[in-house]
Symmetry: C2
């Protein structure tokens, strides 16, 4: 089943007709290769993309060639809601793995939002959660040391994957390199590596073979100061 629908129905009751309209909106999908951009800064896409499978990342590039990832996107996330109301994208979204995305025609989406209040509310909902996650990243990067930052991100991703049914008893697929983690957390890959080792040595979590295992969720969340309220499940 469509990950977006699944995610929404965790929080908002849809009638059959809503669900049908939503799934029809996501009708046409295509696959994009790893390291390809799904949308790029400056674009004004006429379709809004929904991630159906795989991992993607929002990022902004800096003049010195580095980049900062501002969000990890998992199935059920919307890549470029911005495109509906703003003139152009102010950041890019890239595929971290091979992904499949659905394309919702922009005009049709706007019309649906106008004619089906519950779906409009659902779109508001996912947008606001997205913003809440961004704010929590500011807190994470601004106030926590490397180890807690990684731990907090692990908790967030596990919780979000759980919502769309992609978490199996304390483990998720996390096909993200240490380099990319560094770009997301404002740290160097070297330091990511050292901090992962400490988390592993302390029996809190383990990232190996592109899968993240939560070894002690309670202590991990505590050490990260993780409070899932902002995810609004």
């Amino acid at each position: 089943m469509n990950a977006l629908v699944k995610r929404i129905e965790r929080s908002i009751a849809l009638v059959d007709e809503d669900r049908r309209v939503l799934e029809e909106l996501c009708g046409s999908s295509r696959t994009i290769l790893r390291d390809r951009d799904i949308v790029r800064e400056g674009d004004r896409p006429d379709h809004v993309h929904v991630l159906l499978d795989g991992w993607a990342a929002r990022y902004k590039g800096l003049i010195d060639g580095s980049r900062q990832i501002t969000a990890f996107l998992i199935p059920g996330d919307i890549c470029d809601m911005e495109a509906t109301v703003l003139q152009h994208m102010d950041h890019s979204v890239t595929a971290l793995t091979e992904v499949t995305v659905a394309s919702m025609p922009r005009e049709r989406l706007i019309e649906v939002a106008r004619t089906r209040p519950v779906l409009a509310q659902a779109l508001w909902f996912v947008t606001m959660v997205d913003a809440a996650v961004a704010r929590s990243w500011i807190v994470n990067i601004g106030r926590r040391d490397a180890q807690a930052r990684i731990a907090h991100l692990a908790c967030e991703l596990h919780a979000r994957m759980d919502v769309v049914g992609l978490a199996t008893n304390g483990a998720i697929d996390l096909p993200v390199t240490q380099n990319e983690l560094g770009d997301a957390l404002g740290l160097t890959p070297v330091h990511i590596n050292r901090s992962l080792k400490r988390l592993r040595d302390e029996g809190l979590m383990e990232l190996r073979n592109r899968t993240l295992a939560i070894l002690d969720g309670g202590r991990l969340a505590h050490s990260a100061g993780f409070d899932p309220g902002y995810l609004h499940r």
Copy 2:
């Protein structure tokens, strides 16, 4: 004139009736003292607050007693749009100065959004810009050193104040302590102070008597890697 209306009309054309409805929504206003919270984490406010005058800040408190500011709010900004669709606030908003806020009844706001598509679009617009600013803060805190961070924030605030007509040739009122700047930028007040001194010594900007003077906008923006695109003016 209402700062929210002014801000929206910079980007979206309103007919008289839209403007009238919007100003009526902002009809009842009150003033709140400095250091008082406007909304608090966990609240489910039945009114949505618009900042009409003064400065406020979104923040999240951490267990160790510190806090991270995730946004500065200026006239025309909405404090708690979250309240319209989510169960509860995931962060607090506090008054940095004495402020005056308008209270829009939640239900009435939702009804207006449903019946007046242009106003709905306007609400989307301010929400998306808010999110874009949050993402740019992630980049700022994640990738720039102290001096560039401060410079970038200065550029952002000047640009935003300009939109609502509160910037006068390179200077804005900025009634924010160095302590609060530290809470916003993930730095200690001591280091904020040193970095402000360097910015002053290099003739880039000056913060004194609660007013920010941009001395050399070009070099300041360059040193900060500031690209105003994300503000979508």
